[in-house]
């Protein structure tokens, strides 16, 4: 992070490109955006992201923002969160949303899928114990449903519970009455989302326009 200057440097771009898989052009676009968000400083803070107006109406805004500062998304086996990030970390997080190339092997596809799902998992598993507990899940569902103001919290809780039970039934199978279901582990998470085509849905298409003017 220290080696990164504010001026676009071709050499650094190239290393970043190799590391994250973005093209040079895309890195340029993202860099511009980074500068705009951070008001031309080197690092980005949470407050900078909170100022984005379009993000206001997003129900899981706080989790998205938090994901950028979560160390687990930067490096393997790191935990905790940081207060500010540099462009490299920003790019690393964005790389989770890169479109998969057309010609990739089955293994690579699987790997990409795991990485993306890991990102999602980390978003929910806020206390970083490796499982999504009922409380965390409930929190997520409540936030999702917070838009529809007419729903009571009971409903949200009910839905979250039903979803948890569903996960339990799919992944664990019949349990004895005394067993206690801890929470969704990452493997189970993978299992229940087997049907959803994550790698194709979860990516951003980069249009070649200078949107710094258009977006706030």
């Amino acid at each position: 992070m220290g080696s990164f200057q504010s001026l676009p440097d071709d050499h650094q771009y190239r290393t970043l490109s190799q590391k994250t898989g973005f093209s040079l052009e895309q890195i340029g676009i993202l860099h511009n955006r980074f500068k705009q968000l951070s008001q031309n400083e080197d690092t980005l803070r949470r407050d900078d992201l909170k100022t984005i107006q379009d993000l206001e109406s997003n129900p899981i805004r706080s989790q998205i923002i938090e994901a950028f500062f979560d160390k687990r998304n930067f490096q393997k086996d790191a935990t905790g969160s940081v207060q500010e990030i540099g462009f490299e970390e920003f790019l690393t997080v964005m790389s989770y949303f890169r479109a998969p190339a057309h010609q990739i092997t089955e293994e690579q596809r699987e790997e990409i899928r795991r990485a993306k799902l890991r990102f999602l998992f980390n978003m929910h598993d806020t206390d970083n114990d490796g499982t999504i507990t009922l409380e965390e899940y409930r929190h997520v569902v409540e936030e999702l449903l917070s838009r529809s103001g007419a729903l009571g919290r009971e409903t949200a809780k009910g839905i979250a519970d039903a979803a948890m039970l569903e996960v339990a039934s799919i992944t664990v199978g019949p349990m004895a009455p005394d067993e206690f279901y801890e929470g969704i582990t990452f493997e189970q998470f993978l299992k229940i989302l087997k049907g959803v085509e994550i790698e194709t849905r979860m990516h951003i298409r980069f249009l070649n326009m200078d949107t710094t003017v258009l977006c706030k």
């Binding site: 999702l144 009910g158 979803a163 569903e166 799919i170 664990v172 279901y181 049907g195 979860m202």
Partner: protein, 746 residues
């Protein structure tokens, strides 16, 4: 003498049996044909295997051949069903309505660009291609059709480019093909109909004019867009009107379906009035109104609408294919080997080429590009059918080679429907085409899909990129803020997760009823229960209709119970009215309390297989909800697991201890304990009887009443273990109910 006597007799005694066929002729024949077609459909579906391998359209056409042959033999003319007015005004709208109504909207809007691209550009490509190549063929003297000019060829080509989805879509569904391909095929066929009809009218007009100026043709192509857009406009207008009207039909639920049908049909007719694209109009009307209407109307109306649309649509479709078969035998044909063979060839050729080229162009714009197998599926699935046939048949007589065209169209249809229709299934399977995961959508799927969309939208906002999620978001905001307020009666912005949840709930409720009473006629009562509860939630009290519904519900269930009651109590007690009444009241209270406490929790547990009560219990699963369960599970043991992790023996004890009437029960308790060592329970049936025997002997009148209660509950519990029909929830509530009943029988 005889004559006068006869005539007098005539005057005084009107003949008893007269045959006045002429009067009923038309409705009679219509009904007869429809019935015949329906029998055909029933017959085909007797053996499931047949319809898997041979698409229904083939079978219908074949049957039509047979009937046509018969009619030809007796020299009878088939009814003029495929005349222009009858077809376009009566038979086509239901087909389009059905397709439009059952189009899955969300995937459609995600793929709308691709669909329109294939529909509009593809059809134009096909028409031009086939038309021009056929014209080139006509120039060859050997075939002897030199007198067909360019306009007529183009007209014919327009007829041939109408693709028919029915057979193909059923094959696609059957093999669970991937959603993208399905929706593109569906959408393309649908909108292609609209484009075809417009082109047909255009070229008809031009051909009739017999003017060769290309300028006129191009001007008309401009008119093509006007027609399309005009159709869309009227569609939106009527969609809006329909949705708005349904907002006010809260009190007159019976006419809700009528409103929908009439408005849709009206949109079709008005577009026809202005010579705009009526198919487009009715399609857009259906698509736009469906979402709002389904929110406004009652559940019953919703079901009615769907069923009626499906019914009328399928009748129409069936009839057309049937007549195809009939007419192809009975009309005079003009056969021309060269022309017809080349038509077939060009049809296939241009379709394949068209799909290939168009896909190459549009693939970069798609998130999930089409691979080669998808393209093959799309191209090979281009069967011709009803619309082509009707359009050919309604060609004006001024066209000299009309018969040739009709023959040719029939030949193409038969070829594609039979050959392509039958072989497409094995071919697709062979090619290993991408399939979709057709599991029922679970709540988790929905939640995570939503989460993903929000995440992606958030990241996009963050890095300043736009994509169609943004449009979707914007539209949803606009929708919630303005449109819903106007069009929906009871406006609360509802998340799709919640509506899915409700849907699942309803499904579970239906399943409950299925297993309980085994007759679905109880289902509407629960539906209306649900609906009235929805409405009643504001009033927070029970409307008399609710109680009535519950009685209805109960009476259906009660009947069976009474039967069992009789068989077990034949020893000493006559089937007692009191028993029945107790049962009635007990169930009544159960339902009332379960409804009152919010059915989300009720069906929560019902939703899951009840072996996982090991979630942190004591939280929402338990709140206010009688911890019983509606659904039967296989293990008797599992049945007794409720929110309390308990097993069977403790079950009874718990129930007992929770009941408020403690004292009188104890003797029966001892009674039971006496029983148990004696009984091995080889046959569960014997168990209750033995109990009765004992209680019969040890009768002391004093607690006959109470013991009878308990016995009933016991015995109900036995019943529940024997016949798992949702009675398990019963005993739990005895605690509440014992009180009022306790006082009664004494």
């Amino acid at each position: 003498m005889d004559d006068t006597a006869g005539t007098e007799a005539d005057k005084t005694n009107p003949e008893l049996f007269t045959l006045n066929y002429a009067r009923i002729k038309i409705p009679f024949e219509i009904t007869l044909w429809v019935l015949l077609a329906s029998f055909a459909k029933i017959g085909f579906n007797v053996y499931h295997k047949i319809t898997v391998w041979v698409p229904e359209s083939c079978l219908l056409i074949s049957l039509g051949f047979v009937v046509g042959g018969v009619m030809h033999a007796v020299r009878k003319e088939p009814p003029a069903v495929i005349s222009s007015n009858v077809f376009f005004l009566y038979m086509l709208p239901p087909i389009i309505l059905e397709s439009g109504y059952f189009m899955p909207t969300r995937p459609f809007f995600e793929n709308v660009g691709t669909v329109m691209w294939f529909a509009v550009v593809g059809t134009l490509w096909n028409t031009m291609g086939i038309g021009i190549s056929l014209f080139a063929i006509c120039q060859i003297e050997a075939f002897g059709v030199q007198d067909i000019n360019l306009q007529e060829n183009l007209l014919f080509a327009a007829i041939l480019s109408a693709v028919e989805p029915v057979a193909v879509l059923s094959v696609f569904e059957d093999i669970s093909i991937n959603e993208q391909l399905y929706i593109v095929m569906f959408g393309e066929c649908l909108f292609n109909d609209a484009v075809t009809v417009v082109l047909y009218n255009l070229f008809n007009h031009v051909a009739a004019m017999e003017v060769d100026e290309p300028a006129v043709i191009f001007m008309d192509i401009g008119g093509f867009f006007v027609v399309g857009l005009g159709g869309i406009f009227f569609g939106l207008l009527f969609g809006f009107l329909t949705a708005f009207t349904t907002r006010f039909t809260g009190k007159v639920r019976e006419i809700e379906p009528l409103v929908i049908f009439m408005f849709s049909y009206m949109s079709y007719l008005i577009a026809e009035l202005f010579a705009l694209s009526s198919i487009m109009a009715i399609l857009i009307c259906t698509l736009s109104m469906k979402y709002y209407v389904e929110e406004n109307v009652s559940q019953r109306s919703c079901t009615t609408i769907r069923h009626v649309i499906k019914m009328v649509g399928s009748v129409s479709e069936t009839l057309i294919f049937f007549f195809l078969g009939v007419v192809s035998i009975t009309t005079e044909h003009e056969w021309n080997w060269g022309y017809i063979l080349f038509t077939l060839f060009f049809t296939l050729f241009w379709r394949f080429l068209g799909i290939l080229v168009l896909t190459q162009i549009i693939n970069p714009f798609r998130k999930i590009p089409f691979n080669f197998q998808d393209q093959f599926g799309l191209a090979y699935g281009g069967l011709r059918g009803a619309l082509s046939f009707a359009l050919a048949f309604t060609l004006p007589n001024s066209i000299p080679h009309r018969k040739l065209f009709i023959t040719d169209t029939i030949a193409v249809i038969i070829f594609t429907v039979f050959i392509q229709g039958i072989t497409i299934r094995p071919l697709l399977k062979l090619m290993n085409i991408r399939k979709t995961n057709r599991n029922l959508e679970t709540i988790n799927d929905e939640i995570h899909k939503r989460l993903m969309e929000h995440t992606v939208a958030g990241i996009e906002d963050l890095c300043g990129q736009w994509s169609h999620y943004r449009w979707k978001d914007m539209f949803m905001k606009f929708n919630n803020r303005f449109i819903r307020k106007i069009l929906i009666r009871d406006n609360r912005p509802e998340s799709s997760i919640v509506s899915l949840y409700k849907k699942l709930e309803l499904r579970n409720a239906l399943e409950i009823l299925d297993t309980m009473s085994g007759d679905i006629s109880a289902a509407p009562s629960l539906m209306s229960l649900y609906e009235e509860r929805k409405n009643a939630s504001k009033h927070k009290k029970f409307l008399p209709s609710d109680v009535e519904n519950m009685h209805e519900l109960l009476s259906k269930n009660m009947y069976k119970i009474r039967q069992r009651t009789v068989s077990y109590t034949n020893r000493h007690s006559l089937p007692n009215e009191n028993i029945a009444k107790e049962i009635l009241m007990r169930r009544h209270t159960t339902i009332r309390s379960s409804l009152r406490s919010g059915s989300f929790h009720a069906t929560n547990s019902a939703n899951t297989s009840h072996k996982f009560c090991s979630l942190p219990v004591g939280q929402s699963l338990n709140s206010g909800f009688p911890p019983g369960r509606f659904r039967h599970t296989d293990h008797i043991d599992a049945e007794s697991e409720t929110a309390y992790p308990s097993n069977r023996s403790t079950f009874r004890h718990q129930r007992r201890s929770s009941s408020k009437a403690g004292i009188p029960l104890r003797p029966l308790n001892d009674l039971r304990e006496d029983n148990e060592p004696n009984e091995e329970m080889p046959n569960k049936m014997s168990h209750p009887r033995s109990k009765f025997r004992h209680s019969g002997h040890q009768t002391s009148r004093q607690y006959y009443g109470t013991s009878r209660n308990c016995r009933d509950t016991d015995f109900e519990e036995q019943q529940s273990s024997l016949s798992p029909h949702g009675w398990t929830e019963e005993p739990q509530n005895n605690s509440d109910v014992q009180h009022p009943l306790m006082r009664k029988p004494q």
